[in-house]
């Protein structure tokens, strides 16, 4: 026993941080199509872009928005677009692979 009690000793349950989606939720099991998933993702990206747009406009108009919120939203939108581009690239690549398949 050391001088300082470790934090974990005070916990009834061990401290674990959940990462990832875990077991698939019920609605996913009922069959959401790939197209719907893709569309939802694109809408989320679009929402982030328009959100950053609104923030930039508010910042330039009245300056009530802190600058870090504007840059963070812009960065958020950029990363979302980047992910969408990656998804698109893999999608197109897979499609090409299938089309080039000899039957």
């Amino acid at each position: 026993m050391g001088v300082v009690d470790p934090v974990a000793a005070r916990l009834a349950v061990p401290l674990t941080l959940p990462i990832g989606i875990g077991p698939s939720p019920a609605h996913a099991a009922q069959g959401v199509g790939f197209a719907e998933m893709l569309q939802a993702g694109i809408q989320a990206v679009d929402h982030k872009i328009s959100n950053s747009d609104v923030l930039v406009r508010n910042f330039t108009l009245d300056g009530s928005v802190p600058i870090h919120q504007v840059t963070a939203a812009l960065e958020d939108a950029r990363m979302a677009v980047e992910v969408a581009m990656q998804v698109r690239a893999r999608l197109v690549e897979t499609y090409r692979d299938f089309m080039a398949m000899q039957i």
């Binding site: 916990l11 349950v13 401290l15 802190p66 919120q69 980047e82 990656q86």
Partner: protein
């Protein structure tokens, strides 16, 4: 809550803390704030952005990372500084004017600490973003 969202809440809090310090410094000589005595220096109190049951849960050690939020603004119980100046419009019957007892050194120290905390959170945010973008490079051809 991901690391970037946590850092963003901290940036918001430090930004507001800076505003409060600026207000304290700006009102150093305010003798009459809204009719009830001199201005009282304020402190921004922040705390973890978790619900009560989450805080009570597991002996106050949080089981998942949360951001930070502004809990409130508390006036400092420092008393007031009285200066003899009978010509001042806000002088009382004895000719004393009451000023806020602002500890300028403490405000400056807090100002620097706020600035450092802001920078630290910006760095954490940048690192989180770099990790995110590096993970995106996985499998890129």
């Amino acid at each position: 809550m991901d690391a970037m969202a946590i850092s963003r809440t901290a940036l918001d809090v430090e930004w507001q803390r800076l505003q409060v310090i600026a207000q304290n410094l700006a009102n150093e000589n305010t003798t009459n704030a809204g009719g009830d005595g001199p201005y009282r220096p304020l402190r921004l109190v922040s705390g973890p952005d978790a619900g009560f049951e989450q805080l009570v849960d597991a002996n106050g050690v949080q089981s998942r990372p949360v951001g930070v939020r502004v809990v409130g603004l508390e006036p400092l119980a420092d008393g007031a500084r009285r200066v003899h100046d009978p010509a001042h419009p806000h002088a009382d019957a004895d000719g004393f004017v009451t000023y806020p007892n602002l500890d300028r050194a403490a405000e400056m120290t807090l100002l620097i600490r706020t600035s450092r905390a802001y920078e630290a959170n910006l760095t954490a945010m940048t690192i989180a973003q770099q990790m995110y973008m590096r993970a995106l490079d996985l499998g890129r051809r």
